[in-house]
């Protein structure tokens, strides 16, 4: 709200303030542009050189030859994306640091940490499901056992998802404890059935006959 009779001055003061902010901000914008340009140049160079080097290294062929597993994605591209992501994050962090100052940097750090946690959950989930898929395909597991394994994998993924949600800490602790207990008991029951089911079957048969 402007003071009475003094409105124009206040408006002009606000515009002055904005103008001075813009003037102060222009060098930062220029620096940010320079950073972006440098980052783009580095990414271009890195992409070119990485592609050449990895083509020479034949990393995809090498990985397939050693493990016998052909991945649904190219390791060459993955490494290039990782390098690009690194450069982009460095550029972003530098821009935030230059333009926003330490307060925004801290916020950026938090965002990055949270992003890293989410990314790690995604990666672990992918790895978990890929391994699950591999085991099922290799061992020709029967459908009930497959269902059990999928159930366990889902429980583990849920535990990880709970960790990255915005729930309060006590709720998170309670949920994760519950899931952990559930996973533990399920594994225990499964182990007993797996190792002693023949014995139990015989025992039940014996009882039935008696």
């Amino acid at each position: 709200m402007f003071k009475e009779g003094n409105g124009w001055d206040s408006i002009s003061e606000v515009f002055n303030q904005i103008a001075s902010d813009i003037v102060k901000f222009i060098p930062k914008i220029l620096i940010a542009l320079v950073i972006i340009l440098i980052a783009i140049a580095i990414i271009k160079v890195l992409n070119f050189s990485f592609r050449k080097l990895l083509k020479m290294a034949k990393i995809d062929e090498f990985f397939t030859k050693i493990t016998g597993v052909s991945l649904p994605f190219s390791i060459t591209n993955l490494l290039i994306y990782l390098a690009d992501l690194g450069i982009i994050l460095i550029a972003l962090y530098s821009i935030v640091d230059v333009c926003g100052g330490p307060q925004y940097s801290r916020m950026m750090t938090d965002v990055l940490c949270y992003g890293a946690r989410v990314a790690s959950v995604i990666v672990i989930t992918l790895v978990l499901f890929a391994s699950f898929n591999l085991v099922v395909r290799r061992l020709r597991v029967e459908s009930r056992l497959r269902g059990y394994m999928l159930f366990m994998a889902m429980l583990l993924v849920t535990a990880m998802l709970v960790d990255v949600t915005a729930l309060s800490d006590p709720v998170k602790t309670a949920l994760i404890t519950g899931i952990s207990l559930g996973v533990g008991i399920s594994l225990g029951v499964f182990a007993i059935w797996f190792f002693f089911h023949e014995y139990f079957d015989k025992m039940l048969e014996k009882r039935e006959t008696e």
Partner: protein, 493 residues
Amino acid sequence: MGEEYVRTNGIFIDDRPYIYKFYAITRAKIMYKIGMLTEKILKAFCSDKSNLGRIPHMASRLKWLLVAESLFAGAYIALTRGLFLIFLVAMGHDVRGISFVILLSSLLSVIIGLALYKRPNFLVRKVKQKLSAFHLLERLTWFFIPLTSNLLVISLLYSLCIIFSSFISTFLTFTIYGLLPEEDIKEVTSKRTAAGNVSSIVGFALGTFLLAFLQTGEKFIYIFFLGAAVGILSTISVLLMDLSQLEGAELPSGIKEPEKIFSTSMFFVIFLFAGNLLAIVWTPFLMVKLNGPEFLVASLNLAGTVSSIAASLFWGKRSLKILRTGLILNVLSPILVLTIPIPFYHLGISIYNSFAFTAANFLGLFLFAKYNEWFGAVKSSTLIIVIGNIAQFIAAVLGIILSTNYLVTFLLIIALYVSAVVLAVMTVPEIAIVPEYLARTYSRVLYRSSVFGYRVAVEISKETIFMIFRLIALTIVFSALYLIYRILWALII
């Protein structure tokens, strides 16, 4: 003759008296007959253009000049290269530095030898100019070596000397093999060896005398200058040689009997490798292990050189089968060195070793002289030098690795000598103890299996090199990734 004619309207009229005409006709007839005779001699002695040097008087002159070259070169080498190690020690350089210099120069020699073998065209153009230039430049380099104490500069100058020396050896061997028939090659080789050894004794004596009696710090300058000056005398011998017949010498398009060349080369390289290794290890074994006095080492060299003079003259005219005996006798030398613990007895061993070694060395050289007819002088000469250089280089490397392990080194030398003898008597038809057809078969088997092994080795090496490059590429990529995320981490923290 021109003034005896009168020119009339462009027509030459012979208006001389009859007696002059008779003389002129007779002279022309005689000249024609001489010309015909010369042509017959040429046809008798020469099969192609490159063999014109086989005309007796020309060959004789060339042989004497080659012997003279060796005579002056022996003293020159004794006064320069022979004292080079002492010079390095006097300059305060350690063993590692000295080994580095020798190894570098040996490697350069091998590279040059191989390059000349692969591209022999260099040898057959402007032979005399090139030989003379390299000859002179090598001698001139020795004027600069004593002027500095910087190891790097000395190494470079010495390496330059060795490069020139490699070219000189190749050109001189090419001259001998390219201009002389087999018997003359044998004669020149033995005479050159004898002359070189005689003059190297004189050179070493002079060098020792000067080292002992010159008190100034610049004694090496005087000695090397003297050596280089004597060396220039041998350059004059080269300048007097007529090498025009070597110009454009034919290069064989393919090797007629590659297995024969392979067997001989294998035997020769193994034999020379063992010989060089023995030369490297004998002195420290005698001084350190047997506690022999220092002068004994010098006497050992002297006795060996004297023995090799007699041996050169003795073995020079012998047949290949007799030289084979020398090769077999040579096996005994390292056994005697290893088993006789009394240092003074090693003088006798040195005499024996040099005598037998000369025979075995001549065997290799004369075999190449025999193959010269179809293998060609260019290839023969370059291959001989390459073999010598490779043997020297491997011996230098192994000498450094096995320096103090005398037992292993001597056992290796014995094994190598035995291998050389077995190879020679089983696979080289000219000196084989088995029937010739069997030797040829063995030689062929050895050649083919070696070629196959070589191809496999090349393939494996190629794969290994590619794998190394792949790993390097991956390392670079992961290092770059690490660097990127390390920077990011540093920014976040």
